[in-house]
């Protein structure tokens, strides 16, 4: 087999925020930004501390090396800030590494986002040509695949309608269809499959595995362990910029899931780094039970409180918070605040979600947090995946859904339900 990608001692360093000013000009620039009330223009990565930064430097990737054979499908997993996106960005030539190099054989196409460069005023047909060219196809190539692309996207009737009139589903389908027909030797895919409806997702996954079958090398980044297991033969696990495991996908995803619960049940952001927009910023998230001490491991008998603390920067912004509970590679459920609310004064506010005891299963969960408006102006203020992880265990000291059954109880939820069991026979 031939090697199609060789990543050699790849490192990427970002210089952070206020520490380590190099030139007077930068200082002037920062000063000027403060005067205009804009955030520090030189600060990078609005992320929490993952422990891989020192002296205002962040090693987003450190000494990563691996090789991929032609036709291999590699899953890249790791927590947020582990370096997955940085790796993809370097592979896609969007940014250059600090040291090390990547050698490649064949044309590479990266799908860091679908619909890159779509112009709302142009029709579906026009955007297919434009987007295809941006992704690296020639005009003849697009023309020869045009019908196939349109058929795959299922938007035949609207080919000559400006895409601004498309539903978001149609938009994403068309965008993915273009990307899926690129026919590169190497394909880099970043969670684009998290979009679209379930049926279309299956179709995309199908297209990707078909690609892999044709001898195409694929790098696939996802938080969806089920998808990784299904698509990839091999996976690597990144943690704080370094590669900590490389092996068969099933083994690596299991390792990732078991290591995911080592956090302490709370995350706080400082003002400069808090995720969100001017309107609303998420300042903290913490998990605790009735004793109000934040923790990341709970008994099935515990009620779990999830407290979101956020700063409202622009009064009268309507929004609601939502939490998505992920476990075992799928979404267990989502919970949203029942209505959108606006606060008349800027400042810190909180929302607490109470998760009843005996709902979650014995498993690791991770939370996605969204703060968004969908009623009037549609906008996402905060949209974070796998912000925090926690674990549910069963101490078996109190009554629970398992009764006296001690073996593994399957499922992503474990509600306490009533069984009506007849003790006298209803028929002989």
């Amino acid at each position: 087999m031939t090697i199609s990608i060789s990543v050699e001692n790849l490192s990427k360093q970002y210089r952070l925020g206020v520490i380590g000013n190099r030139t007077l000009y930068e200082d002037l620039n920062r000063w000027w930004a403060r005067v205009r009330g804009l955030p520090d223009p030189l600060a990078k990565i609005g992320e929490v501390d993952h422990g891989n930064r020192a002296d205002g430097l962040l090693w987003a990737l450190r000494d990563v090396s691996f090789q991929l054979e032609q036709g291999e499908v590699l899953g890249v997993i790791g927590r947020n800030g582990a370096g997955k996106s940085t790796l993809l960005k370097i592979l896609s030539k969007v940014t250059a590494p600090t040291t090390g190099q990547i050698k490649m054989r064949g044309r590479i196409a990266s799908l860091l986002e679908v619909g890159t460069g779509f112009h709302p005023e142009l029709t579906g047909r026009e955007n297919v040509y434009l987007n295809g060219a941006i992704l690296g196809m020639s005009r003849e190539e697009i023309a020869s695949k045009f019908d196939e692309i349109i058929a795959f996207s299922e938007v035949e009737k609207f080919v000559d309608t400006p895409v601004k009139r498309y539903s978001s589903g149609m938009y994403v389908r068309l965008a993915f269809a273009v990307a899926a027909h690129l026919d590169p030797e190497i394909m880099v895919v970043d969670e684009v499959l998290a979009v679209g409806d379930a049926a279309f997702q299956r179709k995309c996954l199908g297209k990707l595995s078909e690609n892999a079958g044709e001898g195409r090398t694929v790098l696939f980044v996802s938080h969806n362990m089920a998808a990784i297991n299904r698509l990839c033969s091999r996976a690597i696990l990144l943690d704080r910029g370094t590669m900590i495991a490389d092996g068969p996908a099933a083994e690596i995803t299991a390792k990732y899931l078991s290591g995911a619960a080592e956090e302490d049940g709370a995350r706080n952001w400082n003002e400069n780094e808090a995720p969100g927009t001017e309107e609303v910023r998420l300042m903290a998230i913490s998990l605790y039970s009735s004793d109000e001490i934040s923790k990341s491991v709970f008994d099935v008998n515990d009620e779990i409180f999830i407290r979101l603390t956020y700063r409202v920067g622009v009064p009268n912004t309507s929004f609601r918070c939502a939490l998505i509970f992920n476990t075992q590679g799928v979404i267990a459920f989502a919970s949203v605040e029942p209505s959108e609310m606006a606060r008349s004064e800027a400042g810190l506010y909180y929302s607490i979600l109470k998760v009843p005891a005996h709902l979650l299963s014995e498993s690791e969960y991770s939370l996605n947090v969204s703060v968004f408006a969908s009623a009037g102006a549609k906008k996402h203020y905060v949209n974070l995946r796998n912000v925090i992880n926690f674990q549910i265990y069963d101490s078996m000291t109190k009554p629970s859904a398992r009764g006296d059954y001690t073996q593994n109880l399957l499922g992503i939820v474990r509600p306490m339900l009533n069984w009506d069991i007849s003790t006298t026979r209803i028929e002989p």
Partner: protein, 285 residues
């Protein structure tokens, strides 16, 4: 060990920094379909969002010229090398606006495309080059307008005397495009670090028009200051254009050569800076 026998066949190597002279023109050439699609997108999207569409290409220079004619021609009564006021200002503003538009639009390449650049790689120079070409469409329309007026004035008997140097038109356009691109991408590379430069540029281009013989002929400048105006690489282009098509003003091969060399140097510096910034700018924007 497996890599050893195959190293010579790598099709692409991603390295920390590119050399200063690694300009990758071939890559840009391969992206010509993309460049033309960008041109077409800019043209179509502008045209789809307005009622008057491409008519704007005509309205803009007409209004500018009218303003110049009233203010500089009638009120300030500046000399126009014996040409009709209107034609004199129209020639100046058509030529100048091509250069100015090229510079203004290319100077925001990184900032206005940061979203696109952050997601997918293609030769970044495709964007500023496409801007030059879409502005060329506008220039062609405006140039046709200018020709129409030139013919009209010639018919009514004004002193309009085109000559063989009209063949220099492609040269004029080349130098203007090159200068606009060169300065534009220098600024665009610098604005990734210092955003305020962008505002400075718009303002600076406006001021630079007054240091170019757009609203006055070079001959009206006192001898001792002429060198100062000639040092501006756009001077010989504007003057030359007017001489070629209208027969007024001056044409000096040395001045034209100076502009050409100036263009090459600014373009080279621009491409070097642009390529340097291209690989790392996503970390700073």
């Amino acid at each position: 060990m497996e890599t050893k026998f195959a190293t010579e066949k790598w099709t692409d190597v991603i390295k920390p920094q590119r050399g200063w002279f690694d300009w990758r023109f071939r890559e840009l050439l391969r992206a010509r379909d993309l460049i033309m699609l960008f041109v077409w997108r800019d043209f179509v999207s502008v045209y789809k969002q307005t009622i008057l569409g491409p008519l704007w290409y005509l309205i803009q220079p007409l209004l500018t010229t009218l303003t110049f004619t009233v203010i500089f021609g009638r009120i300030a009564a500046l000399p126009t090398d014996a040409l009709p006021d209107f034609l004199f200002y129209l020639s100046g503003s058509v030529v100048w606006s091509y250069f100015a538009e090229c510079l203004n639009k290319t100077s925001s390449t990184f900032i206005s495309n940061s979203n696109l650049f952050g997601k997918v790689y293609f030769p970044r120079l495709a964007v500023p080059v496409s801007i030059l070409i879409s502005n060329l469409i506008a220039f062609a329309i405006q140039f046709a307008l200018f020709l129409a007026f030139a013919v009209y004035y010639w018919v009514v008997g004004s002193e309009v005397a085109p000559n063989w140097s009209v063949l220099l038109l492609p040269f004029y356009v080349l130098v203007m495009a090159g200068l606009g691109l060169g300065f534009g991408i220098i600024v665009s590379a610098l604005t990734t670090r210092y955003r305020d430069l962008q505002f400075l540029v718009r303002f600076g281009v406006q001021l630079a028009m007054y240091a170019t013989p757009v609203i006055y002929p070079l001959s009206s400048i006192p001898e001792k200051y002429q060198l100062l105006i000639i040092a501006n690489p756009m001077t010989s282009i504007v003057e030359g254009f007017r001489y070629s098509f209208l027969g007024a003003g001056s044409i000096n091969p040395w001045h034209l050569l100076y502009s050409f060399v100036f263009m090459l140097i600014s373009l080279a510096i621009g491409i070097m800076l642009f390529n340097r910034i291209e690989t790392t700018f996503m970390d700073t924007v």
